[in-house]
């Protein structure tokens, strides 16, 4: 669709505004993998109960608002694969990889690149390379989709 890039810009600006607001209002960095991962392994709760609650509220918004908006804008498809092996393998790699790297697309990509962080740049290059190789390997060589 031709309008895709316009919606990309609009949605991107919303994502960046959310990251800016989380930094200036709450003093926190909007990195999805860090927020989820530190709640999952309990390190956030051990460090501070209130900051764990804050990140929980963030995740609640992250799940509820698009869930409601999805109903309003015509239920766009996720086109997510339904093959359990792929979902599990991909989930494990995304989870372990982002925690090893201390960041994902939002943390290293949006928050890192915007302050010209060397680490953010290195991470972004390597996850893009990994993603590109993954598509070549799984999709084009093995025919998995």
């Amino acid at each position: 669709m031709q309008a895709d890039w316009i919606w990309g810009l609009v949605g991107g600006a919303m994502i960046g505004t959310a990251a800016a607001a989380y930094l200036l209002l709450n003093g926190r960095i909007m990195g999805a993998s860090g927020i989820i991962g530190r709640l999952a392994d309990g390190s956030e709760q051990r460090a501070s109960r209130s900051s764990a609650l804050e990140n929980l509220a963030f995740l609640l918004g992250l799940a509820l608002v698009p869930g409601l908006l999805w109903l309003v804008i015509g239920r766009p498809a996720t086109n997510l694969t339904s093959q359990p092996v792929i979902l599990i393998a991909a989930g494990l790699m995304v989870g372990a990889g982002t925690r090893l790297a201390n960041g994902c697309t939002s943390g290293h990509g949006v928050c890192g690149l915007s302050r010209l962080s060397f680490r953010g740049f290195v991470a972004t290059v390597f996850y893009l390379v990994g993603g590109g190789l993954s598509v070549i390997f799984f999709r084009h060589l093995l025919g998995i989709s």
């Binding site: 810009l9 990251a19 926190r28 509820l64 989870g95 928050c111």
Partner: protein, 143 residues
Amino acid sequence: MRLLAAFGCGGLFGAGLLVSGMTDTTKVIGWLDIFGDWDPTLAFVLAAAIVPMAIAWRIAPRRKTAVFGGPLSPPPFRDADRGLVLGSLAFGFGWGLAGLCPGPSVAVLLFGGWNSLLFLIAMLAGMVAAPVLRARIDRLAAG
């Protein structure tokens, strides 16, 4: 107030992911698929997202505290290390395979069905396992 702001930021993040099409795994995989039917949308999303955040990084040092109190989280200064490179490569591999990264995996939870829940559970398991993996990698590297 802090909790409400956090909820609002999460909501705006999620709404932005949905509006930009980043909850559609074919658009994400399409961006990574440079030898296939390449979809440049993700580049527009990332470029537009960086602008407000770059402004926020310039405002932040002039403030002592966040608007709702408490310290402004300083950007973490660490060196690029093995974990950063290997972790990002592994993340990219999983990202290209399913088309979901951590933010969208939560954003699609209410309409992505059981498949998205399975992905999220596996991702949480991977996150919890990461420290063990890190220790292993360090031991291997140390010889």
